[in-house]
Symmetry: C2
Subunit: 353 residues, 2 copies
């Protein structure tokens, strides 16, 4: 099949972004929202839909509101296929089981494109471009799975198939636990003096960045996935408690802390890099630049001339000063090539490592 018309229930960031992406691919999109103003804004952004019934209904509303619309949507269009887009997958499945929608007609999905901006006005049609989009296809009718996959493809995302239970375990580990830990860490800063925080380096900044997340969205996600998040928090708490009792003792403190850091090194090394490689496979190339307009542009122009591919980049902040440290991540070969190239044209570049 090819999708002709899609009905999107929920005109927030995700729903409207899906709508924008689909109309760009010539699919008719009908936007719905409990808030008439949001619905109108979204539909205005997207353009008027064709009059026929939708062949796919996307439930893009907060998880807590899902159960209230299922029967109505089914009554309106019993021939439609249904998917949701929530961050936790166990509860939507239960909600659908308790509704009139036959379970085979509903595919739980999760586009992994979260940002802390809300509303139709923040929507963009390419929000999902290149992002993973999880599909929980077990027990779902083949034509519904096909429609969900077509949607993912149309939006330029990449489909990953995972079971409902495994999905919720995975996101608990890679997303919900880090969120809780970052918020707990950032909370501790409230007890510190401002002048101490002025000394903070990129380590503190990085570890607390996601502590900027939206409280309403995240309190819903965490409480909904509490069954999977709890054991992870408990294990974390046990490990922390062991660290504390080792620090209270005096004998084996150093050995215990060293083991913790080694365990952390190992866990960190398991996060894959950009194209499926392991993060630590990259070689780091430090370049000291003057902190003024144009320097980064010149640097990347040289990268282009050297025909190397920059995998990632970090800028070291320098309070009150006008030099900056750029650390480029490249393949070992590209790092050596770029090092020699930059040295040759007088850049303040340091040995790759």
């Amino acid at each position: 099949m090819r999708l002709k018309k899609v009905r999107i229930v929920g005109s927030g960031l995700i729903g409207t972004s899906i709508g924008l992406g689909l109309v760009a691919r010539n699919i008719s999109v009908e936007m719905v929202d409990i808030d008439p103003r949001a619905q109108k804004l979204a539909q205005d952004l997207i353009g008027a839909p064709t009059p026929e019934k939708a062949d796919l209904t996307i439930l893009a509303l907060p998880s807590s509101a899902l159960s209230s619309v299922l029967n109505r949507e089914y009554d309106l269009n019993p021939e439609s296929k249904f998917i949701d887009i929530g961050s936790v997958k166990t509860k939507p499945v239960l909600d659908v089981e308790r509704s009139q929608i036959p379970t085979g007609r509903f595919c739980p999905t999760h586009p992994m494109a979260g940002r802390e901006i809300g509303g139709a006005e923040s929507a963009r049609g390419d929000l999902f471009a290149g992002r993973p989009w999880i599909l929980c296809v077990q027990g779902v009718d083949a034509d519904v799975v096909e429609a969900a996959k077509e949607l993912v493809e149309l939006l330029g995302a990449k489909a990953f198939e995972v079971d409902v239970d495994e999905h919720d375990m995975a996101v608990a580990l890679i997303s919900h636990l880090p969120q809780m830990v970052a918020s707990l860490l950032a909370k501790q800063l409230n007890a510190g003096q401002s002048k101490w925080l002025a000394l903070a380096g990129s380590g503190l900044r990085d570890t607390t960045r996601i502590a900027e997340s939206d409280p309403i969205l995240w309190s819903e996600i965490i409480s909904e996935n509490r069954e999977k998040v709890l054991p992870l928090l408990e294990t974390f708490a046990e490990d922390l408690s062991e660290v504390i009792s080792n620090l209270r003792g005096s004998e084996s403190t150093k050995t215990a802390i060293k083991k913790l850091i080694v365990d952390g090194n190992l866990g960190r090394s398991k996060i894959p890099g950009k194209h499926g490689g392991v993060a630590r496979d990259y070689t780091l190339l430090p370049v000291v630049i003057e902190d003024k307009p144009g320097q980064l542009g010149l640097l990347f122009t040289e990268c282009d001339k050297a025909r190397v591919n920059i995998e990632d980049l970090a800028i070291e902040h320098t309070p009150g000063q006008f030099t900056g440290l750029i650390t480029l991540s490249l393949s070992a070969t590209d790092a050596q090539t770029l090092y020699e190239h930059l040295l040759g044209c007088g850049w303040n570049v340091h040995t790759p490592r």
Copy 2:
């Protein structure tokens, strides 16, 4: 006074970097190390010193080795001023009190320029450029403080005066606690499946980056500052325990989690940005680029043309795909200027936010 000759005891990354920075300013530098190979490498890098006695001795060796050299260094050169460079300041002060060095002749200092690369071969003369350098001047003779400040200035760093006790409390909060938390978090990833980690976004990457730190260096730092780190870990553990018991309950879970995220928002907002402003003062400008060589160079060339200053930049990783999301941080005015400029030349740029 102006420094003429400096003796640096310890030819690792910090000691050798100080040496390189000083010879570049025409100061004679004598490198010392317990390892003759390291000493020779460092001295070769820096060049032969003049024969006179040093007016400043910098103790740039691991904190655990400090006490073993104090009396020898004092006997060799009782007229010298002394400073150290350790990450924790209480213990060096105690070590000096137990040595022949008069306490007023020793200034505890801490250059905040840590990286996880070791050895003289990684040294660079500009390691401290623009970085904070903490001086604990209480009870230190004026001429010793003056020499320490001159050193900081010569190396392009920025002096901050903090008491010994306050220093150790501050670094416990802004550096040692985040290190422990990041290592504990990264450790949890060892229990996850590899395919789950392939779905990880920048949140997990950022929160665990410093979990790559060196185990030997950090086990020494943490155990030495245990008195200041312990209460912070204990408060963190209490907060975590409260979160866990809220998640185990069913009544007030959402409210409690929401409060935690709000507290985290607040703590995070206290970290100042690059030039003393608050981190959230920057406006974010998302640009979608094709993930191929040259794109970043072209983008920054346009930034240059638009005469805007990029304060920071993030690259969104996209497993197995060839589009990338670049998020630029700029002032609100620069963001609007660049937005219009990039739109005008056909870039896939999104509304500043």
